[in-house]
């Protein structure tokens, strides 16, 4: 054997060896918006998912096999999510997929996973139709309507507001929150005096602020993400609107406080992550995430972390690569302790867990209260 043949032989065996090492890993698919308008949430979600994979691998992976996260950018767009889902299933051969993306792209990808009979978990996309794609699709976050109902209880029962103005983001997130809020408002003695809508591109709310000031409500229920809610809250307070503001998990980021500044003080949100939690899973997540990301944990990161943990727990329990067995193991999840609480699923694949209310105090998200009312928070089961 001359030297050149030896080199070629060495190279081939090296490739073969790496190949066999790869076979010892289990692939989890992940789609998230890493470019475009939702790139900030995509980055948080990806970091949260990576953290969950690192932690699971440190615990020995899945029955001795290393977990590998296969990531595709979907730009939060359905037309990018479908090819991403197809690549994950067909080319990468993932046994389970996780969406770290918004509703539009998650809905589109969910159908692809369902058609291929591969389990798929939506980490924080809220559209009701996602889990209706079929029995392979699950969701580990609250549906918009469920969170809206919790908002009504917070406004009426806990804050004692009678007259509430709704400022609604014109997308599936905002609309389903508003629908949930309105469905239970009367039960908690709340009347919705006006509702204003804005688009996800809006950052300047001058006219809405003028009208809300004229309405003079007891409380404001404003749906949005940190990048719309930050400027909105800042502008409301800068123009003298003093009514309590209730938000939701879309606000749940330190960025919201950076943008709104002192105006953020006292804003209360319904979300899944309790910053002051004494539960070891949550405390550990918050600490490890900050160390890994270099910025504070948020709802999106915690939700992606949760979804990966649910997937890993199910794959360990299933003990096989068979997607149908993994699917059954996810469906059978009961009271799994993760960073966003204790996870169980109903028959539709919707999560049941308590709502964590957080308030901004001293420039930080802090514990406000918990809503743990199974009847109020029951997601649809079909």
């Amino acid at each position: 054997m001359n030297f050149k043949t030896f080199l070629a032989f060495a190279a081939v065996s090296a490739i073969a060896l790496t190949g066999s090492a790869w076979a010892e890993s289990v692939k989890i698919g992940f789609n998230a918006p890493l470019t475009g308008f939702a790139a900030a949430d995509g980055k948080s979600a990806l970091t949260g998912a990576e953290l969950a994979v690192e932690q699971a691998n440190a615990e020995g992976g899945i029955n001795g096999k290393t977990i590998e996260l296969v990531v595709y950018d979907d730009g939060a767009k359905p037309d990018q999510a479908v090819p991403a889902a197809k690549k994950l299933i067909g080319q990468d051969g993932v046994k389970i997929g996780i969406s770290g993306s918004y509703s539009g792209s998650t809905r589109a990808a969910a159908q692809v996973f369902q058609d291929a009979s591969v389990p798929y978990i939506s980490a924080y996309a809220i559209h009701p139709d996602i889990t209706r794609s079929g029995k392979y699709v699950f969701r580990t976050s609250f549906m918009g309507e469920v969170q809206g109902r919790a908002g009504a209880k917070l406004a009426g029962e806990m804050l004692g507001a009678k007259k509430v103005v709704l400022i609604t983001l014109q997308n599936d997130f905002g609309k389903s929150l508003a629908a949930g809020f309105k469905s239970k408002a009367a039960d908690f003695g709340v009347s919705v005096v006006n509702e204003y809508q804005y688009s996800i591109k809006d950052r300047q709310f001058g006219p809405i602020v003028s009208k809300v000031r004229a309405d003079n409500p007891d409380a404001i229920y404003a749906s949005g993400y940190f990048f719309t809610a930050g400027p909105l809250v800042k502008q409301l307070r800068a123009r003298g609107v003093k009514a309590p503001i209730i938000g939701q998990e879309g606000y749940d980021s330190d960025k919201f406080i950076d943008i709104a500044g002192p105006a953020a003080e006292g804003v209360i949100i319904t979300t899944s992550l309790d910053r002051d939690s004494k539960k070891p899973e949550t405390m550990n997540f918050i600490k490890s995430f900050e160390a890994k990301a270099g910025f504070g944990a948020d709802m999106v990161a915690a939700s992606a972390h949760t979804a990966v943990k649910v997937a890993v727990a199910a794959m360990r329990k299933a003990g096989t690569d068979d997607p149908a067995a993994i699917r059954d193991a996810i469906a059978a999840t009961r009271n799994l302790a993760v960073s966003t609480g204790s996870i169980s699923f109903n028959g539709l694949g919707e999560v049941t867990k308590a709502v964590q209310n957080q308030v901004v105090k001293g420039g930080k998200w802090r514990h406000h209260s918990v809503i743990d009312d199974p009847a109020l928070l029951a997601p649809p089961s079909e």
Binding site: G36, P207, K211, A238
Partner: protein, 286 residues
């Protein structure tokens, strides 16, 4: 009183539109290019305001250097992007401009991160009240600054030799050149002034929102096109009127038609209606 409040909010929004749209209409008037990337320069102005303030600790320094830096960036865009393709049909520079705009958005994301930037300590959080009207100091400043700068631009164009040269180049570039006007210099000046004004708008919007993100320019990139068409392409006075009218219309539209129509769609609905009645825009020549 709500009526006055909404009217004032419309004028504030309109003033900020006017500052951005003027640069676009100036470029169109001179070169017949739809300069979509102008919205990227507006975003650059906003980023300079936030990043310089946070690193060097002086908002005033940031506010003073942002317009000239963005002005120079505008000149570079002309030199590197448009000048080599001036003899191409108009859709070529338009596509190049859209391409540059997308590159700028992704560039901002790569350099400044996807999360967007805010002032560490938001400057000027004071509010003013005039009877029933209660506004942020920055909102009042937006209106005043827009009127002063655009007024100065009008004087420059009407009363100075430079302005005469510029107007001559717009009307008949070849004739202007044969009279010894350096039309290349005029074009550079044009890009400098237009881009610097967009930077001023960027600084003001950064203050107003306390939030600058890579896609800050995406709405202006197309809404400004509606404004300059409404104003009669290339017509500065028409652009100002269109910007203010649209600001006011959006202000009332958001409140009274917000459940029917998206705020950004109002601009285009307004555009379609105006073009049906006056195809040349408010002040365009028939």
């Amino acid at each position: 009183m709500l009526f006055i409040d909404l009217l004032v909010q419309g004028l504030i929004q309109g003033s900020s539109y006017a500052l951005i749209a003027v640069g676009l209409t100036l470029v169109y008037g001179l070169l017949r290019i739809l300069h979509v990337a102008h919205a990227g320069l507006f975003t650059l102005g906003a980023y300079i305001a936030v990043v310089v303030t946070n690193t060097l600790g002086s908002f005033w320094l940031a506010a003073v250097i942002a317009p000239p830096i963005v002005g120079l960036a505008g000149m570079l865009v002309y030199r590197l992007l448009y000048e080599p393709i001036l003899d191409q049909p108009p859709f070529v520079p338009l596509i190049a401009s859209i391409g540059l705009f997308i590159c700028m958005e992704e560039g901002f994301r790569l350099i400044f991160g996807p999360y967007g930037n805010s002032f560490d300590e938001a400057p000027f959080s004071a509010s003013l009240s005039f009877g029933p009207v209660y506004m942020q100091g920055v909102e009042a400043a937006t209106v005043v600054i827009a009127f002063v700068l655009l007024g100065a631009l009008a004087v420059l164009a009407a009363r100075t030799r430079l302005g005469t040269a510029w107007r001559a180049s717009v009307t008949d570039p070849q004739m202007a050149q044969s009279f010894g006007i350096d039309i290349v210099k005029v074009r550079y000046l044009n890009f400098f002034i237009g881009s610097a004004l967009a930077a001023v708008a960027g600084v003001l919007v950064a203050l107003l929102n306390n939030f600058v993100e890579p896609t800050l320019g995406s709405v202006p990139s197309y809404k400004m096109l509606a404004i300059i068409v409404l104003g009669g392409l290339g017509n500065v006075k028409g652009t100002l009127v269109a910007a203010l009218a649209l600001g006011v219309l959006e202000s009332f539209g958001t409140i009274y038609a917000g459940h029917l129509i998206d705020r950004d769609a109002i601009a285009f609905l307004f555009l379609i209606i105006v073009l049906m009645v006056r195809p040349q825009g408010f002040f365009g020549k028939a």
